[in-house]
């Protein structure tokens, strides 16, 4: 587990450094994500001995429980929402209206665009054949790893 933690922190650190040095708009954590994803892709495609170092098997003992309990990370900031609503009662209500309306609108637009473009892609044969039914293409382990997240298996046993 600690190997995974160390590796993730390492990629985060490099991500932060790249983001700061190049003055990117993209935050360090996202740069770290892209670097780690890039590393895993390169490793999967190029067979060099030195590249075997970082593997998903090292990462998953840390990332699976972390992503599996993603929600708890948002409890302290969420408690902060309550404080904000107290501080500016009238403005807090307006902000909450803006956030709610925008969230619902975004959800509707996304769902409609995704559905329509998926139908379009299927009709024109743009979907890869092996993904005819998306369920069939899901690598079981990955799906399982995150399923635990929703149901909090690791903590709520």
């Amino acid at each position: 587990m600690l190997t995974g933690f160390g590796l993730i922190l390492g990629f985060l650190l490099v991500g932060e450094a790249v983001s700061n040095l190049l003055h990117l708009f993209v935050p360090g954590s996202i740069v770290g994500l892209l670097l780690l994803f890039g590393w895993l892709q390169i490793r999967a495609h190029i067979d060099i001995k030195a590249m075997q170092a970082i593997d998903t098997a090292d990462l998953e003992p840390f990332t699976t429980p972390l992503l599996g309990n993603l929600g708890i990370l948002f409890v302290p900031p969420g408690v902060g929402v309550v404080g904000f609503l107290d501080l500016f009662v009238e403005r807090g209500a307006a902000i909450l209206c803006v956030v709610t309306a925008s969230t619902l609108l975004t959800m509707i637009v996304t769902a409609l665009v995704f559905q329509m473009s998926q139908r379009l892609a299927k009709r024109h044969g743009w979907m890869q054949p092996r993904a005819g039914g998306p369920a069939a293409a899901i690598p079981g382990r990955a799906a399982d790893a995150l399923v635990a997240s929703a149901e909090d298996r690791s903590l709520a046993k």
Partner: protein
């Protein structure tokens, strides 16, 4: 001295109390959610927040004190963003197969999320700094906070309303999809992850593994795209 201030004084010398309370609230909330058959309102994040907020009020503890005592949890937000690379890598085949709907929905969805909040903030007469702080609300909290910081927003406000967005989206998800008569799991999941990131992704996994995987992909891509789009659109909109 009233009972609550004595208790508050006692708790203030026990820095571990609030960390313990948060973890316990999370475990109990998870059980309640399961027992309710994952009812939309029995959201573990929502229940934990309500329980902690009540406890803070009852003991007269400030949010600053609570936030300082739970730093160890909050420190993990940035590593959690990096960790998303692992499921993204594992599901890469599925992402490639659905490349067209993913690209189309992420572009329009992300622009809708940012533009609608800027336009509505203006309509409601909210100050520019508030609008900028709300703009990245559909990116996952860690990313949203960094984005907000880079465009001069209030990071604490962004954190608070990013989480609010996540909870609102997760609670509304099933009702909205019924209204739109959408039954396809890839669509439901992608919509949940794009607009309601972490809590929405957790909700999508309750629907099924396909929905959850697509929520994770959307969460990931939207964090990157929001980081690129927010500085652009806030400038176009003329907010500082």
């Amino acid at each position: 001295m009233t009972g609550s201030t004595t208790l508050g004084a006692l708790l203030s010398i026990m820095p571990l109390f609030w960390l313990t309370a948060t973890v316990c609230a999370w475990i109990v909330a998870g059980r309640i959610a399961r027992a309710s058959g994952f009812h939309p309102l029995a959201n573990p994040v929502l229940i934990s927040i309500a329980a902690i907020a009540l406890l803070l009020t009852a003991t007269g503890t400030t949010f600053e004190k609570y936030s300082a005592d739970t730093q160890v949890i909050q420190v993990l937000i940035a590593p959690a963003v990096v960790a998303i690379a692992v499921p993204l890598f594992r599901n890469w085949q599925l992402v490639k197969a659905n490349a067209f709907p993913i690209v189309a929905a992420i572009m329009l969805g992300c622009v809708t999320a940012v533009l609608s909040v800027l336009a509505l903030s203006r309509a409601f007469g909210l100050p520019g700094r508030v609008a900028v702080s709300l703009a990245p609300k559909s990116a996952t909290a860690g990313a949203a906070m960094s984005i907000s910081h880079s465009v001069g927003g209030d990071v604490v406000m962004t954190a608070a309303f990013t989480v609010a967005t996540s909870i609102i989206g997760a609670v509304a998800l099933v009702s909205i999809m019924r209204l739109l008569r959408v039954r396809d799991e890839t669509t439901i999941g992608f919509s949940a992850g794009l607009c309601a990131h972490a809590v929405g992704t957790a909700r999508a996994f309750q629907i099924g593994p396909v929905a959850g995987t697509f929520a994770g992909i959307a969460l990931c891509l939207n964090a990157v795209l929001t980081a690129l789009i927010v500085p652009l659109l806030t400038r176009l909109f003329g907010v500082p």
